[in-house]
Amino acid sequence: MSEVVAPTVPGGGHVRPRALFLAGVTAVVVWLGLFLSLPRVATWSVHTVLQLPQGSPVHAAVEFFLFEAPKVLLLLVAVVFGVGVVRSFFTPERTRRTLAGSRESVGNVLAALLGVVTPFCSCSAVPLFIGFVTTGVPLGVTFSFLVSAPMVNEVALVLLFSLFGWKVAAVYMGTGLAIAMVSGWVIGRLKLERHVEAWVYDVEGGAGGADGSPLDWPGRVRFGLDAVRDIVGKVWPYVLAGIAVGAAIHGWVPTNFMASFMGKGAWWAVPLAVVIGIPMYSNAAGIIPIVEALLEKGAALGTVLAFMMAVIGLSLPETIILRKVLRPRLIATFIGVVGVGILIVGYLFNAIF
């Protein structure tokens, strides 16, 4: 889902630091101006321009959309850029070197954390898997990375922060990392190395590409901008579609409508959410605004989190790709262990909040 380019672009040194600094300041000022004027512009559009009747469903829906859509997009641009710059300090090769030298339990923690900041594209999951396990990164540690990388991603965090507030975003990040660490550790304990396809260990692994010369700051900025173009350029239609559906739910679905089948009272809601979520393939961008609207109509937080994690973290396409290197037994264990982790998180949050 989060696909970011790796920092092997040479050069970029033709930009003068001072020009870069000025451009940066201008960008921040423009961004802040836009962001701070959003509520007024949204209210003004709904009341003065469109003159929608106050208190009507269409009023609620349109105001929601006009406020949330630009807000989420602005936050996405800022955060994806920032994360892009941070990621320019990491490469898969470097992450592998760090992980190959660490002990198992420490390795699981490190791998989950590095999964967040290492550039990763789900279509690279197989080459990365092979690169890790053939150079001494333990299987369980590799899984911690593979669980955390797609699940704890900046697009999901921005949307959660924007629509639910920082607490929910922090909870998602914390529990996502915990699931990655623990499920990787469990998979390591189960000693499933023989369920990796045999050819993987037979490959004479190559040294890989040079890490590339370390980037200078203009290079890192360009890396961040590439990430914005790449990621925001791809997810914005989903964001808009998701917020539009969310807006419609917001305006027309009665309050507490969801409580009966996604509320706390329904014990089966969490497992059902996970089972429905796994084969669904949507990026965070499309699913979260809908989920927010459902929550507002009485769905329970834990159920909604579980659904989201299952959709984003355990995607069917990725497991199909991983089938090339993992035997069915290991795939099933992987889905099972991570799925149980998500279930626990779901029940836990239904119990706490």
Binding site: E3, V4, V5, A6, T8, V9, P10, T91, P92, E93, R96, P119, F120, C121, C123, S124, V126, P127, L128, I130, G131, F132, T134, W199, V200, V203, E204, G205, G206, A207, G208, G209, A210, D226, I321, K324, V325
Partner: protein
């Protein structure tokens, strides 16, 4: 145009990003009239052999020169030494 390059490999499992990379490289090779072999590699074994962990990647004569992003034409020309 004559260069010492004999073989360019574009590596990737066949996702849109890899196809785009192949298009960029092919365009550069064709416009420069390079007489070298250009192949799109989808084999994970080959990627592992070369040590590629992030796709799309480009290897020139068996040496990985770029990984993990879609290059611009200018970058490919630089990599091929015809910048």
């Amino acid at each position: 145009m004559e260069t010492t390059i004999t073989k360019i490999e574009v590596l990737g499992p066949g996702c849109p990003r890899c196809q785009e990379t192949y298009r960029v490289v092919r365009h550069v090779v064709e416009t420069a009239g390079l007489a070298c072999q250009l192949v799109k590699v989808e084999s994970y074994q080959r990627m592992a052999q070369l040590g590629v962990m992030a796709t799309p990647a480009i290897a020139i004569d068996g040496a990985v020169v770029m990984t993990g992003h879609i290059p611009k034409a200018e970058e490919v020309r630089e990599l091929l030494g015809i910048g």
